[in-house]
Amino acid sequence: MSGVVEVGLGRRTRRGLAVWAWAVFAFLYVPIVVLVVFSFNASSRVNIWGGFSFQWYGEALRNDVITSAIRVSLIVALVSTVVSVVLGTAVALALDRYRFRGRRALDGTVYLPIVIPDITMAVMLLVFFAEAFKFIDSFGPRFTLGISTVALSHIAFNISFVCVVVRARLDQFDRTLEEAARDLYATGWQTFRRVTLPLIMPGVAAGGLLALTLSLDDVVISAFVSGPGSTTLPVYVFSSIRRGVTPELNAISTLMLTASIALVLGSLALQRRRAGAGRQTQVL
């Protein structure tokens, strides 16, 4: 069983393509691998290999600023993922199947946070919180930028991403299945619970995974809407890089890298299992 599409390319072209492809893979992976390797460097000089050691991981994890940043990142990621999955899925369902006033406006608005650059989203939210605080302060309570503003901001962009991913799934959804359920005496809620939700679940899970990843990745928006004590891990790393490369930074980066890769591979494994149960594979 070959399955290779030859499309009449000459041997030299084919060899050239292969070399090129593997060079690109090297380009994608070498920097990451070098970073990971040097995170285990015993030497405090970043460019000289001084033997294998875990010492930078130890130092990083003993650093209160870093552990606090990890905690903030995790809380924000979990909260924003849960909220945006619920809200985003609801919006996707509404856009997919109902006509209502303002539908087109909502449909367009949902895509905007995905399209506009991070930096503009960041300054928009900064200006918004500044004005909102001015307004709220006039009633007495005093609010400042903190973990809640970070979470609120992450939800704002994650709703859109979840919504888009879930809608892609809904596009393939066969509505007669819902009619069949209704015909078989299921109420509207039972139909949703027993038929619709299980079938769009891969989309909802994919949306949630994307939201989680984006929240853990975000640096620009968080940098603008976080306050003292609510620094996320990427924001900490970002500001540290500006001050210079340290072996500690290598260690934290490797940890973040591991988390990302674990998430991807986990989701792929999950999909493979589902695919085995007779469903289509969807590579995220």
Binding site: D174, T176, L177, E179, A180, A181, R182, D183, L184, Y185, A186, T187, Q190, R194, V195, P198, L199, A277, G278, R279
Partner: protein
């Protein structure tokens, strides 16, 4: 005894989608235990009619009763009907058993009744041993059986089938036609099925309702529909026919466009324009002057001959009219293009269609 209540009674039902009238003021009564077909080309409103009976679409106006109970506006889960969907709509994330159980579970039927009824349904459609498979592991015919079992297990008063055989290949389709008829006799409930295939409708149903452009044109037995079509559309849509323009002379005779007067029953008033429908297989071809036994005849010339094995089709030009004649089996010697012939038919063969 009182008049038996109709299984499905539709009165003045209209369905509009925005500006499009999908079903236009339809009246229809389907009897208890009947095998009824709604027949028409795609877009004629037959599926919408079926969906309104199922409760999947709600009528814009009109009344819809199932065994005397008004259900026009009731949701599908409150109606004693079940549907076999066009592409079956089997739940892909559930096994065969879970699919069949679905309706019973929704109505909170508990064991042992649940498993007993499911087992019966599985036996009825001969799917024993397949219970734990998923729909995508079944063949088209098996999926169709699951869809049937999933609907019938609920013991509906009326079973609705939307193009039930459309997704199957020809051979399987013919097998399933027989099986569906047998199944309907076995369970004894009303079957209403939608199809665009006129042969399927003729072969399977006790009565047929022909629809076109949202209107119900004619309801009758297959024989009535075929032999006494009430409109040009029905005559043309069901089987092949020759439609000849004519004028009514009196209640028993009409004058064809070429001046020939033939005998034909009609209730249309004298002088009105009508069409005469002549089925090709009810017409005979003979050599000119061979002596016509009975009925009416036209003289013409063979314009084209098509050999089909079990039949020969002649296109005969008789003045301005082209008559298609279908000779089944060996009837006399074959004719060739250009032969002078006479076509003739019995009195009962011509159906007059009032405009």
């Amino acid at each position: 005894m009182t008049e038996p209540v109709a299984a499905v009674e539709i009165e003045g039902v209209t369905k509009r989608f925005d500006d499009v009238v999908a079903v236009d003021n339809v009246d229809l009564a389907i009897d208890d235990g009947e095998f009824f077909a709604l027949l028409g080309p795609s877009g004629c409103g037959k599926t919408t009619t079926l969906r309104m009976i199922a409760g999947l679409d709600l009528p814009t106006q009109g009344s819809l009763r199932i065994f005397g109970e008004e259900v026009g506006m009731a949701p599908p889960d409150r109606r004693p009907v079940n549907t076999v969907f066009q592409a079956y709509a089997l739940f892909p994330h559930m096994t065969v058993r879970q699919n069949i159980e679905f309706g019973l579970r929704m109505r909170r039927v508990k064991d042992p009744e649940l498993s007993q009824r499911v087992a019966e349904a599985i036996g009825m459609v001969r799917l024993a041993g397949m219970e734990e498979r998923r729909p995508d592991q079944l063949s088209g015919g098996q999926q169709q059986r699951v869809a049937l079992a999933r609907a019938l297990v609920n013991q509906p008063k009326v079973l609705l089938l939307d193009e039930p055989l459309g997704a199957l290949d020809l051979k399987l389709r013919q097998e399933m036609q027989q099986e569906l008829k047998a199944l309907q006799r076995e369970v004894g409930i009303t079957f209403v099925f939608v199809t665009h295939d006129q042969e399927e409708a003729l072969a399977m149903s006790e009565r047929i309702g022909v629809m076109s452009e949202g209107r119900l044109l004619q309801v009758g037995s297959p024989r009535e529909i075929y032999e006494r079509p009430s409109s040009r559309f029905v005559a043309d849509f069901i089987g092949r026919t020759n439609l000849i323009e004519a004028t009514v002379e009196s209640s028993g005779t009409v004058r064809l466009a070429n001046g020939v007067v033939i005998e034909a029953e009609t209730s249309a008033p004298a002088g009105s324009d009508v069409a005469v429908s002549l089925r090709p297989e009810r017409i005979r071809v003979q050599s000119r002057g061979a002596g016509v036994s009975a009925g009416a005849s036209l003289d013409g010339e063979v314009g084209d001959v098509t050999y089909l094995g079990h039949a020969v089709v002649y296109a005969v030009t008789a003045g301005p009219t082209l008559v298609e004649v279908r000779n089944e089996g060996e009837v006399g010697e074959p004719f060739a293009v250009g032969d002078e012939v006479t076509v003739s038919w019995d009195h009962g063969a011509a159906a007059v269609i009032a405009e």
